[in-house]
């Protein structure tokens, strides 16, 4: 009832399928069309990804060639270099900003922002989000947050440099780190707008999924992408406010002289007046968001990959209900594991043991997902599209990065590996490279729906193989570095002979990182070239998929469907169901006798 009324309303407002006049500004800038907002998140995210990637290349140069001078880099980045060497201040600032940009701006805002906006209404049969205005506002708050963060890069006192986890007291005291002055203030202000943007977006995604499903689109008939994006929004909505409160208390300590996180500090020859605060409290609040955050990053990728593996294998996703239940399991458990980031902060060992237990349990739903993906492609008929290889690559990265989580989650082993390169290798594989692969898979797959053209396949394959092999070459050796005790966030290893024996590994990692970063421009060029001049999409349903987005016109206008909204009769994974006929049955095809027969057979 609600569904159709809103739909009709939207339709009458925009005049039969979006053929009303739009100016450049209403179409491209202050658009309320969910598809355009999705693209805006994508473009902004790509810009951030290039900046974040560039930062990592710069600090990898420092780690691989600590003794060389780089006058040509000094010409470009004069603030960060001194006599051809990167300064430690710049190193720590770049490390901090690389983490902040990649985790928050690229893999949270851009991954969810692009695909939740683009796919949720198209895949559940809605004309737009529940609140298009709120949706646009969410994007523009993200832009504001981005601009503030961007401005902080050019501060003379330097950007925030206390790590992306901004642990106090380091992040509060400008005496302790020059980046904790204006740089940190801008970081916090930017994050406040960012969180507001995430909350507006999340509320919108949730209410859209709950209220705007078209006729017949039961929750149990939703594609796994929508399920994953829905759960992501729930996790974000429950965890981001906690980061907000943590940040607010930090602002109070910083500007108003309160002592929420500070106590007993003697710095620069002076005892400061703070007392009674608890620096560890911040870590609890931060990781209450920080851990669910990694699932905010990986869940959308999981959804995208499940969908693409099923479509390209021409086979239903194996264990649809188990997939949803394991997503739900991850969502619930993700709120019970945060303190595994804090095993060695001196917290009560009993508390540590509880978090270790839950942490290892969260590996169960993750492994169920892996087994289900493997069974999905087993005896399939896999079309090796670019999206498909990225999805397969995702599964490999997720396995490799996920298994090392079992090492780190075990509190006892964590005493040895905590904050070493092992951790860096682990989370870059599982939530860095894997999440990027999910994003790339999604872009290659839905590009025809976004721009009515295809991306070039050859370039896509080149992009994939360099990134896939390169990704392993960068992050696999880090596990060995970590096991031999090499700590993260070291500007130079020369001071410690225990850490200085592994220069070859560091060289391999840095060279691979530079090659992989360069290879991403193949993707960028492919993206923009194909947007304007790529092969035109001439079919409604180029991948022969079942979901609703392929029942819209090739380039849908605002409102998505020209006539009535489609009605849904079946789940989205009826691939290769019958011996005869096409190997896919879209969700809009009514059930037949044969369907009922087949479902009965499966039950027994």
């Amino acid at each position: 009832m609600v569904t159709s009324a809103t739909g009709e309303h939207a339709l009458s407002m925009i005049g039969a399928g979006g053929h009303h006049k739009e100016t450049f500004i209403t179409k491209y800038i202050f658009s309320t069309d969910h598809k355009m907002i999705g693209k805006q998140f994508l473009f902004t995210g790509m810009a951030w990804a290039v900046i974040g990637g560039l930062f990592s290349v710069l600090f990898r140069v420092q780690l691989a060639w600590p003794d060389e001078t780089f006058p040509f880099l000094e010409q470009i980045f004069s603030n960060w270099f001194d006599e051809g060497h990167m300064t430690p201040e710049a190193y720590y600032a770049l490390v901090t900003m690389h983490g902040t940009i990649m985790v928050f701006f690229v893999l949270t805002a851009s991954l969810s922002g692009t695909f939740a906006n683009f796919l949720i209404p198209l895949q559940i049969g809605a004309r737009d989000m529940a609140s298009p205005i709120m949706n646009a506002l969410s994007y523009w708050l993200f832009v504001l947050s981005s601009l503030i963060m961007l401005a902080s890069i050019f501060l003379p006192t330097g950007m925030a440099s206390a790590g992306w986890t901004i642990y106090p007291p380091l992040s509060i005291l400008p005496q302790a780190s020059s980046g904790s002055g204006m740089g940190m203030t801008l970081w916090l202000v930017s994050m406040v707008f960012f969180i507001a943007s995430q909350l507006l977006a999340g509320i919108n995604y949730i209410s859209t999924v709950l209220n705007l499903r078209t006729k017949g689109m039961l929750m149990t008939r939703m594609p796994l992408t929508v399920w994953a994006l829905f759960f992501t929004a729930v996790v974000g909505l429950l965890s981001f406010p906690v980061l907000f409160s943590a940040a607010v208390l930090l602002v109070f300590d910083k500007g108003l002289g309160t002592s929420f996180y500070l106590s007993d500090i003697f710095i620069g020859g002076k005892a400061l007046g703070y007392s009674g605060g608890n620096a560890i409290l911040f870590q609890h609040l931060f990781w209450f968001l920080g851990h669910p955050e990694v699932y905010i990053v990986i869940l959308p990728a999981m959804g995208i990959v499940s969908e693409i593996l099923s479509i390209s294998s021409r086979k239903p996703v194996f264990g649809y209900k188990a997939m949803i239940l394991s997503l739900l399991g991850i969502v619930v458990l993700s709120f019970l594991v945060w303190a595994h980031h804090m095993f060695v902060t001196g917290m009560n060992p009993f508390l540590g043991s509880v978090f270790a237990l839950f942490t290892l349990l969260i590996a169960v739903p993750s492994s169920v997902k892996v087994f289900n993906w493997l069974t999905t492609i087993w005896r399939g008929n896999i079309k090796m599209t670019v999206a498909a290889v990225f999805s397969l690559g995702f599964v490999s990265m997720f396995i490799s990065g996920g298994l090392t989580g079992i090492w780190l989650g075990n509190a006892t082993v964590d005493i040895q590996l905590h904050d070493t390169y092992f951790v860096i290798g682990h989370f870059h594989l599982v939530m860095g490279v894997a999440a990027f692969f999910g994003m790339f898979a999604g872009i290659y797959h839905w590009f025809p729906k976004m721009f009515g053209r295809f991306m070039n396949e050859t370039l896509g394959y080149i992009h994939f193989f360099i990134t896939f092999i390169g990704g392993y070459l960068i992050f696999w050796p880090m596990h060995y570095l970590g096991m031999s005790g090499v700590p993260r966030r070291y500007y130079d290893f020369n001071e410690f002979h225990a850490f200085n024996e592994y220069h070859d590994m560091n060289l391999l990692i840095s060279v691979s990182a530079i090659v992989v970063f360069a290879a991403q421009f193949i993707f960028v060029i492919n993206f923009f070239y194909s947007m304007k001049k790529g092969r035109k999409s001439t079919e409604l349903n180029p991948w022969k998929a079942n979901t609703l987005e392929w029942t819209t016109p090739i380039e849908p206008g605002h409102g998505n469907w020209l006539g009535e909204l489609p009605t849904v009769y079946r789940w989205p994974y009826d691939y290769s169901k019958f011996e005869e006929g096409p190997d896919f049955i879209p969700q809009t095809v009514p059930l037949t006798e044969a369907d009922i027969e087949s479902d009965k057979r499966l039950l027994h």
């Binding site: 720590y92 005790g485 700590p487 691939y575």
Partner: protein, 344 residues
């Protein structure tokens, strides 16, 4: 100029790749779609399998050559326990890693697209789902059981005979204080901290009189050492990789870690075949621009060597009595008398 050339070359390469991509696309669209998909899936499926094999060889080779070489020999009692756990975890996760990755690459290649084949419609099998929910749960329970067993042992109360040491982190150095003859550390009060007495030691506390500061951490082998960890300014982390010891140093919140070193510096030099070797204390929590340079040498010596070294150490209080008196007029006379027996 150099940059310009690099950028130019890079752009040129991109343009060439783009042109190749366009040509391949132009040729391929003229063919039947199914045939094209089959051919692409053939070659890409093969390349994917090949990349899997290359990665497999790379991983196997590096694991073989680096695994033993990189891991520092555990030099403490609990370090051996952690090492055993690492080995068990390596075998279990290693087996799963190999099986799942091999299946992934094998399936991707074996079931690549063929025009005249149809995929199997196989949407679910609840028995299998239960099986592969229960088995990982059991395996993980065993791993965590083994881990927590040792976890509680590592964080048990230190034995009473343990040597009391205090290590305090500051930007960017460590201050090491020993409990002295009575093996008790004198109490501290942060409000007493000054440039001369940055630890804020309460000189009124009798136990502080025999405490001494040291430039190095010297500890006897096979004797428990109880490290009282703290920080003056920001969070640091007390990290001894060879001993598998790591504990954050948090301003305002004392933490601790006790361990029993089992290999002396001399023995480790032989094991490592490196006469220069020394154990080092490092900081493992980002604490500012000098984070990477907070080194302190740790010497593990024999019981006899330790006693000899210990006898040479002089009380910090007695060495600095003149300064302390000037600062803290409230010191009682008998304390001063005790510290300056010559004046009597």
């Amino acid at each position: 100029m150099q940059i310009l050339l690099i950028i130019l070359a890079f752009v040129l390469v991109l343009v060439v790749i783009l042109q190749v991509g366009k040509v391949v696309e132009l040729v391929s669209v003229m063919r039947d779609e199914d045939e094209r998909t089959e051919d692409t899936s053939n070659s890409v499926g093969f390349l994917f399998l090949l990349s899997g094999i290359i990665l497999g060889v790379f991983i196997a080779y590096t694991t073989y050559t680096e695994y033993g070489k990189f891991l520092p020999v555990p030099a403490s009692e609990h370090g051996v326990w952690i090492q055993d756990l690492v080995d068990i975890t390596l075998y279990i996760t290693g087996i799963v890693f190999i099986i799942t990755n091999v299946l992934l690459f094998y399936f991707a290649y074996k079931y690549r697209y063929k025009r005249n084949r149809k995929a199997l419609y196989y949407p679910y099998n609840n028995r299998i789902e239960i099986l592969w929910t229960v088995i990982p749960t059991l395996v993980l329970t065993i791993i965590i059981g083994l881990g927590l067993n040792k976890w509680f042992k590592i964080f048990s109360a230190a034995p009473t005979e343990a040597i009391q040491i205090e290590v305090t982190g500051k930007q960017f150095a460590w201050v090491v204080r020993y409990g002295g003859k009575d093996n008790e550390l004198g109490k501290r009060d942060f409000t007493l901290s000054t440039v001369e007495n940055e630890l804020g030691v309460r000189w009124k506390d009798k136990q502080s009189k025999d405490d001494f500061l040291s430039d190095e951490i010297v500890i006897p082998v096979n004797t428990p050492v109880h490290v009282n960890i703290g920080a003056l300014d920001v969070i640091h982390s007390f990290y001894l990789p060879e001993f598998r010891v790591m504990m954050d140093a948090v301003p305002g919140i004392p933490t601790k870690f006790w361990f029993r070193p089992t290999i002396t510096t001399e023995q480790m030099r032989e094991i490592k075949k490196n006469p220069e070797f020394d154990y080092e204390l490092a900081c493992n929590q980002l604490c500012g621009t000098g984070h990477w340079n907070m080194k302190k040498t740790v010497k593990v010596v024999t019981e006899a060597e330790y006693k000899a070294w210990f006898a040479e150490q002089k009380s910090y209080y007695k060495q600095n009595i003149a300064k302390i008196q000037g600062e803290d007029a409230s010191l009682d006379n008998d304390v001063i008398a005790e510290a300056n027996p010559s004046k009597n």
